[in-house]
Amino acid sequence: MTPTLTALGGGFRAEFQQLRRSRLLVVLTIAEAVTFLMLVSIFGLTGSHVPTAVVDRDGGKLARQWAQVMSATYQTYGVRYMDASSAEKALNRGDVAAVLYIPDGFSQHMAHHSMIRIHFRVDNVNADLTNEVELGIPPAARAFAVANHFPGIRVVSAETDLVPHEVGFIPYLVVSALALAAFVVAGTLAASAVAREFETGTLAYLKLSPAHPLIPLAGRLLATGAVSAAAVSVSALLVVVGYGVEPVHPAATAVGLLLCVVIFSCIGAGIGTVVQRALPLSALIFGLALTFYLDSGSLEPARFYGNRLWVIGHTSPAYYAVGILQYGVHGLRVTPETIPVSFAALICWALLAAGAAWLGLRRAVVT
């Protein structure tokens, strides 16, 4: 074996032995990757329903139908039937965001196609939910009118979809979360491995050895990369098994995830070289990761954010990673760039990050 390979293997083995001793760290790292799935799932769930109390003072068939249509037409309404007193209490406690009063005589008025006023009380402390309530009523009323053949109402919907199937919000988010998990896990482990060498002073001994100090450090990064890949694989498995999302293009998904781990390991190594302290790394990398993540088309395609944000998104490797992962898992094209272009961009990022880490470490280790 050549001296370079021996030194590379030495660094790899030493890092692996250290990680093996830090089982809690490895378990928490894997758990961290999984918690991102929970994070985005909870985020998706919280905005998907406006809890709405319905006080049915009419009790007729059409009144119940109105509430059902409202709930079915605009999926943000989570309807709960209550009496007036309970509904007001729930509104004041914050248990529901709105109370809908269906007045006495509603069914009769509807049957005679005459006008009647229905009353909504909205807890407008949350502007987002208030908007949802306001936006939901017109399409619900239209659907109700169409269902009951009210005169003068004619709605014909003709939609041509760009993609043959629709993907739910949460399945979309969890796939993007894999890119976030790769960033945080690979970045933190790689940065810690490098920063530790500075903190303990062992870097000086690497400098004094005949092997170039970057070789054993590269060995260490290979070990952290392997652990990161394992952690991200657990998350990916959970997406498939737990969320029932089956990748349309498994190979593209696997290669995309692997590239993410490589890029983010290199970025982490660069950060570790600059910071040289292990303690602040997790917070720093998490902060950087979220910025990349939110602006990379992880919540919806980045091109919907407007030109400026979309252009900024292109500077992030997460943008291309999300593009590839959404294609690989859901078959969606969320970026205007083709998948080979996205792959090429990711590889460029990997080379750039590796080069930057190499230069950063070189400056740090060569006096």
């Binding site: 032995q17 062992t202 001994y205």
Partner: protein, 351 residues
């Protein structure tokens, strides 16, 4: 004569003094390599030669035109107080720091040399222990063996651990070792590849007396086996116990380079007189007129009187007891700070 032409002799003697009977526990290639180096390096006795080097650490100039030669198979002490420039000097020899002025020759190569071959011939123990705490002793050494591409690492690790009496703790995590043991592990790490030149910064820093003597024994053993050692130290007794020569640094300048015995002889003895502060001034005038007294300094407890080595201590004490009021006295060897007092040219002039 070119600078390269001055060197051929240098490493030759290094080869000459390396004992052929030394157990070469590396590999056949390593043995062959060492023989090749020895054969090529001629016959001079300097393993390290510094010629007028100046070096900065940050904005501070840590070394001022230091010239020094380190002889083969000797222990050379670099003595100085904190901040004197000892670590910088050792760092320059090890190749960690680059001087902005002067030339450095180490084992026949002029620095800066990035050659892995030269690094393979040098072992370094820095002031910081710098071990991987969550690896065992053996695992730490195995990483070093990989960095130096040792062909039979397990065998060599066992040998080195036996040499420094750490074989029983081979499987222990470094985090569980005492300070003295950690220091010995760093020594083992530096010796693993059988260096011709061993550089040790503060070999016994922060460790107890027993461990200190154990490390001294290891260094003496290495010297006996022909390894050239440069050791920086704060302690005069350590240099006396270990070193053949002592280079004394003061504020980055080399102020002496001689045997430890000669240094101590120059500093002579000290007579501490316990007395009240206001009485010390009067006693100073008295003692400075006595034969064998070189100078006197008022200290917190009274007065310290510096005596030549040949001074009649009993006579001086008798004189003081008769003519002044003191509450106690003791005679002792000069310490490092007092040696500096003698060596500092300005103070020398004043004296």
């Amino acid at each position: 004569m070119t600078e390269e032409a001055e060197l051929p002799g240098d490493a030759a003697q290094a080869g000459g003094v390396m004992p052929t009977a030394e157990p070469e526990s590396g590999t056949a290639e390593l043995d062959g390599e060492r023989r090749r180096r020895h054969a090529s390096s001629g016959t001079a006795s300097s393993v390290v030669r510094l010629a007028g080097i100046s070096c900065r650490r940050g904005r501070r100039q840590a070394l001022h035109r230091v010239s020094l030669e380190v002889q083969s198979a000797r222990v050379t002490g670099v003595l100085g107080l904190n901040g004197a420039g000892k670590s910088t000097l050792l760092g320059v020899v090890a190749g960690l720091y680059r001087p902005f002025e002067g030339t450095v020759w180490v084992l026949g190569e002029r620095l800066p040399s990035r050659g892995p071959e030269l690094r393979r011939r040098i072992g370094v123990v820095l002031q910081e222990t710098a071990l991987y705490e969550d690896l065992t002793v053996t695992e730490n050494l195995r990483l070093t063996a990989a960095l130096y591409s040792l062909a039979r690492p397990a065998r060599r690790i066992t040998e080195v651990l036996e040499l420094i009496d750490l074989a029983e703790r081979a499987g222990d995590m470094v985090a569980s070792l005492s300070g003295g043991m950690r220091r010995r592990v760093t020594l083992a790490r530096a010796l693993l590849h059988q260096p011709e030149l061993l550089i040790i910064d503060e070999p016994t820093l922060g460790i107890d007396a027993e461990a200190r003597h154990a490390i001294w024994e290891h260094i003496r053993l290495l010297r006996a086996r022909g390894t050239t050692v440069i050791a920086a130290s704060n302690y005069l007794d350590e240099v006396q116990a270990l070193c053949d020569t002592a280079a004394v640094l003061h504020e980055g300048r080399l102020v002496a380079n001689e045997t430890p015995a000669s240094l101590v002889a120059q500093a002579g003895q000290c007579l501490d007189l316990d007395c009240a502060a206001d009485a010390a001034a009067g006693i100073t005038d008295l003692v400075l007129n006595l034969p064998g007294v070189t100078r006197a300094e008022v200290s917190s407890g009274g007065l310290t009187v510096f005596l030549r080595e040949d001074a009649d201590t009993d006579e001086i004490v008798r004189e003081v007891l008769q003519r002044a009021h003191i509450t106690g006295f003791r005679v002792r060897a000069a310490d490092l700070a007092e040696v500096f007092g003698v060596l500092d040219p300005v103070r020398k002039e004043t004296a």
